[in-house]
C-alpha cells in the first residue's frame, strides 16, 4: 500500500487567520486521504486549525511544537 501523498505548507510568519485559510484551500487540492503538513509560528492559528478540524471533519493526525514552530499533519477525509 502506498503512503498517502503529503504536501508541505510553510506558513511560518503568517498570522491568524491566514494559516487556516491556506490550509482549507490546500486541502481541497488533495485527493481523499492526502495529507497536508503545515508549519506555523502563530499560536492563534493553533486554535483556528483545531476549530477547522472540528467543523470540517478533516483529521489532524499529528500535532507537535518545537522552538515556537507548530507542526500539523492534516488528512483530507472527504
Amino acid at each position: 500500500m502506498t503512503a498517502p501523498a503529503t504536501s508541505v505548507l510553510d506558513c511560518r510568519g503568517l498570522a491568524s487567520p491566514l494559516p487556516a485559510v491556506r490550509l482549507a484551500k490546500a486541502i481541497k487540492t488533495m485527493a481523499i486521504g492526502g495529507i497536508i503538513e503545515l508549519f506555523t509560528t502563530d499560536r492563534g492559528s493553533v486554535e483556528d486549525i483545531e476549530a477547522f478540524e472540528k467543523q470540517s471533519g478533516h483529521k489532524v493526525i499529528e500535532q507537535s511544537e518545537r522552538n515556537g514552530v507548530y507542526r500539523f499533519k492534516v488528512q483530507r477525509t472527504r
Binding site: 487567520p17 491566514l18 485559510v21 509560528t41 492563534g44 476549530a51 522552538n67 515556537g68
Partner: protein, 386 residues
Amino acid sequence: MTFAEQYRALFGRPWTVWAAGVLVATVNVFLFAFDRPWTASDGVRNWGDWVLTGVGVVNRPDLIAPWLYSGSLLNIGVLLGGLTAALLAQEFAIRVPPRGELVKGGVGGLMLGLGAMLALGCNVGGFFSATSALSLSGLGMMLGLFAGAAIGLRYLLWETQHRPQWSGGAGRVLGRGAGDRPSRQPVAGALALVALVALAFAYGRLGYGPQGVFLLFGVAFGVIFQRSRFCLVRAFREPFMTGDGEHTRAAALAVVISMLGFTILKFTDLKDKGEWVFPSAGAGAVLGGLVFGVGMVLAGGCGAGAIWRAGEGQVKLWAAIACFALGASLTRLVLVQTGLQGKLGPAVFLPAWLGWGGAVLLVVAVMAAWAAFATWNEATQTFTML
C-alpha cells in the same frame, strides 16, 4: 494541588474562553466603578496626538502626556500584561512577519483608527463598553463590526487565492532559546510582574495614585486575554470562517454581564446616566464599525488584541498599533475641522426610549440572538466561507 501544579494550571495551560469572558466583564465593571469604562482607542489616539503634536501637525492644548493619561496607561498595562503573561508561560517570542503581512498590519491599523473615530470608540469602547452603558451607538457599531468582519474575511480569501505573493515570503522568530525549553522567560516574567506593581506604587508615592491603578487594570486585561486568547475578532469572524461559535458565545455573555454591572451603577446613581453614551448612534457607529471590522481582520487584532499581541512579541501588531495611532489622530483632526464630528449621530441612552427593563431586555435579546446565530451556524455551516 502542589504549587507546581497550580503554576502549570495558570501558565502551562490556556484559560478557557468562558472564564475570560466572565473575568473581562467583571474587571470592566470594577474599572467603571473606579472611574471610567475600558476602551483602547482613547489611549491609542493619545499616542497619535502626542507624536503628531511633536511634529506640529496636531495642536491640542489640553493634551496629557501618555505616561499620565488614563487611557494611555490602560493600554500600556494591557501591553505589559500581555508581555508578562507570555513570559510566565514561556510564550514570548519576537515574530517578524513577511512584508505583505506588515502591510496588512499597517493598513488594518489605519482602518482601526478611522473606524474608531467615526464610532467614537473601538470595539472595546465603542461596542463592548458602550453597549454595557446602554448606548444605542454600541448596537450600531455591533452591526457594522458584524458586516465588516465578513467583508474582511472575504477579502483575505480573495487575496490568498489571487495574490498569494502578498502574504508570501519567510518570517522570522527571535527570542526563543536554542534548546527545546527556553527556561529563563518565567524568571523575566516574575521580575516584570514585580516591576509593574512597584511602578504602580511609585505613581502613588508621586501623587498619581489613580494612574497606577489604571496601569494595573490594564495589566489585568492583558493577562486575561493572553492566557485565554479570548478574541473579539474571532467572535465576529469565526462564524464566517470555520463556523466555530465558542468565542461568539463567550463574548455575548461578557457583554451581558458587563451591561448588568454598568446598569446597576447607573440605576443607583453611582454613575451618571449619560456616561459612555456616544453621539454616534447613526452613520458614525455603523460605518465606523464596518471600517473597524475590516481593519481588525486585516490587522489580526482589535483594540484589545492588537495591544496584548504586541506585548507577546508579534511585530505585525506593532505596525498595526503605530498606524492605529496615526490614523485615529488624523481622522479626529479631519472630522473636527470639517465639522463632521457633530454629524455622526445622536446620543441615545436606551432607557430613555424603552425604560430600564426594556433597555436591559433589548441588549440581552440582541446578545442571545448573536449567540444563537453562532450556534445554529456552527451546526448547519450555512455562512462558513472556508
